[in-house]
Amino acid sequence: MMPLETFGLPEIIAGIMLLALNAYVLTGGADFGGGVWDLLASGSSRDEQRSLIERSIAPIWEANHVWLIVVVVLLFSAFPPAFGTLGMVLHIPLSLLLVGIVLRGSAFVFRSYGGRAHGRQWGTLFAVTSLITPVILGMIIGAIVSDRVGVASTRVGTSGFVEVFVRPWLSAFTIAVGAFALALFAFLAATYLTLAADTDNLREAFRRRALGAALFVFVLAAVALALSFQAAPRVAHGVAGAWWSLPLHLGTAAAAITAIVALWRRRYRIARVAVAAQVSLVLWGWALAQLPYLVPPTLTLRDAASPRETLTLLLVGLCAGFVILIPSLRYLYHTFARASES
């Protein structure tokens, strides 16, 4: 654990980066989850389900997507060597992630605006890419925590192609993390959609889906944790051993149980808060387990940090930016709080 006296600018910026990632997961992640439910839409209300998903995502997905850009930009501004390392070793999954993001975003607007002629084909492309992209995102995170990216980065040029550019991100553990991420996003989306729904029928449909997704979340979390003892001891032990570990675990469990009970009892507002808390705690747990590393076991936050001048300016810029951003976002969400009114 990091001693308190070394808490400074790099840690603050890293904390903001994590908050941005958290925001991305809670907003953009749910948009991906929406795509999953579009793919799995079924039953008599199938078309209404799809239409609700589309109306809920349309006005906000581009703004939600910017959180990812903020994370990337902060990473390369504040921790350039980490960005370089990830870009190098994770070239393949990051490129796949991009292809997924591009196809998904364009398919979504083409479906909304391209007339009804090919609407369903675009819809399918949108849904399939919504399924694949979160898995890749999860795999990337799994690869980073498992130390393999850091190790591979020291072997560039000396080890073979597969060893450096494929192994780090392709393993049972990373796939489990990927699937876990997908399940979380789907859980988030279904829970949000219970609130956006404008008929009881639809609300029930998404309530059932949310409960089903919760089951997947638990199973996949258990699988990922079991695999982590071997593949990512840092997380396994970090999560299991440190002082913050117990409260964090209890918090996550409490949030998860609250979410399920609330869904069961149709307390959707509570469910939404609880799901969001659960997802955020998972993310913070991962980050705490990594400290003080950004890319374990080679790059610490401190080693990777940009010069002080840059970090100071970034912090000033971020504060100014958030002063504009937060009210704007509130306005956006407030304006479109109910998908049904349009």
Partner: protein, 437 residues
């Protein structure tokens, strides 16, 4: 050194992928900068006149912009990652300095995306005033994002605010980096390019329709508003280009020599129009030469000395042919756009009708794509002309590229992706235009 070990083809693939991505993104970026201005003007005319045609126009343009903006957003995302995927060593070096403008750009994107969402989907949800204000915010933040990102590019051309010790940066001053010697000229030129290219393209499309349906109120309104944005920008563009050229002359003499095809160092150098730079014989043949023109334009002194390419070692020469031709194309098209715009302006100040002149409508329809072609050409000049450097005088492109082998594969995939997207976007926009004709 890394380039040699990998063989040139990986470096070449990386460059091609970067160039394709940027060349693709810039089209949507320009549209994303200028279309909100057009939409807002149409909506403002509507609030002023209560004429429903303007409302219809604003909504129609908004629909097109939604498609194009989304493609711009996803292609821009690709670019932010690509900086690390293709040029990790450039980012390790430059991150601390260019990160600040890029972060500010991030917030500009945020406001842009937020208020575009409000604008596109909020017609019935918020007051008219709030709606118009949302449009204005989109237009302003679009321009702001262009300014921030071009600051980065200006820094790559004329780096400032860093102290190098060996291969690493020992001190940085991001503010000085943002306000480097090219910032003002390049951002101005880029913004004008966006308004000129988009304004004249939209005007040209509606001019083509007006040729057949002279009295469609809808197309008249669209045509007039688009000209109002495109014409002033196209007229100012050569002036701003001259500022850019003089900055290049002062800070990047090799680039200047390459774009002019100037091999020998001479006083009173001529301005060459066209011509074929023969790199072996170190001479540009077949050009129309205007005596002393280059010295005059680049240094505002007809007998100023212009350093030619031969004054510099060959390994610092950029590829001469694309740079020279890129420049000729940009200036040629820019001159044509400025002349046609001058005609429009002349008729306008004389209170003469514009829509009724078939010859002018035809000219405008022909000029429609020029701005975008000029933009691609201009970026070729800037980027290829800076070679072999990514950051002028600081780090070479070959040393910045990723060690990842097999870069032809991602390059091909992204090339196909852009090709497919372009085809779809063209089809969608055509059907949108056709709906109104």
């Amino acid at each position: 050194m890394i380039g040699v070990r990998l063989g040139m083809s990986d470096l070449f693939a990386a460059r091609t992928q970067m160039a394709l991505s940027l060349g693709f993104h810039i089209v949507f970026a320009e549209i994303g900068i200028a279309m909100p201005v057009l939409m807002v003007l149409a909506e403002w005319r509507w609030t002023r006149t209560e004429d429903a045609v303007f409302l219809q126009l604003a909504k129609r343009w908004a629909k097109g912009t939604a498609i194009l903006f989304a493609v711009g957003a996803v292609s821009g995302t690709v670019l932010s990652f690509e900086l690390g995927l293709l040029w990790p060593r450039f980012m390790q070096l430059a991150g601390p300095i260019i990160g600040v403008p890029f972060s500010l750009e991030g917030f500009a994107f945020f406001t842009e995306a937020i208020f575009l969402g409000v604008y596109l989907y909020g017609w019935d949800r918020i007051s008219r005033r709030a709606h118009l204000a949302a449009g204005v915010i989109v237009a302003v933040s679009g321009a702001a994002s262009a300014v921030f990102v071009v600051m980065v590019n200006a820094w790559m051309n004329t780096p400032a605010g860093i102290t190098l010790s060996g291969a690493t940066i020992s001190a940085v001053d991001p503010i000085a980096g943002m306000f480097n010697p090219s910032t003002v000229q390049q951002t101005l030129h880029m913004l004008l390019a966006a308004y000129a290219a988009t304004g004249l393209a939209v005007a040209g499309i509606h001019a083509a329709v007006l040729l057949r349906k002279r009295d469609s109120a809808f197309h008249r309104a669209a045509f007039t508003i688009a000209l109002g944005v495109g014409v002033p920008a196209a007229i100012l563009q050569p002036v701003s280009g001259d500022l850019s050229a003089r900055t290049v002359a002062a800070w990047q003499p090799i680039k200047l020599a390459a774009l002019e095809g100037q091999f020998a160092t001479e006083r009173g150098a001529p301005l060459r129009i066209g011509g074929w730079p023969n790199v072996q014989r170190e001479k540009t043949s077949f050009a129309l030469e205007i005596p002393r023109g280059l010295s005059l334009l680049a240094f505002h002194d007809p007998s100023a000395e212009v350093r030619g390419l031969t004054a510099f070692p060959r390994d610092l020469w950029p590829p001469i042919i694309p740079v020279h031709f890129g420049f000729q194309i940009m200036v040629g098209l820019g001159t044509a756009m400025a002349l046609v715009s001058a005609c429009v302006l002349f008729l306008f100040v004389r209170h003469r009708p514009i829509v009724d002149r078939a010859w002018l409508l035809r000219l405008l329809a022909i000029v429609a794509p020029f701005g975008f072609i000029a933009t691609e050409a201009g970026w070729t000049v800037t980027e290829v002309g800076r070679q072999p450097w990514v950051v002028q005088g600081v780090i070479r492109t070959a040393d910045a590229v990723t060690p990842m082998p097999g870069l032809v594969v991602p390059m091909t995939i992204f090339a196909l992706l852009y090709l497919a997207l372009s085809a779809i976007v063209v089809t969608l926009v055509r059907s949108l235009v056709r709906e109104t004709t």
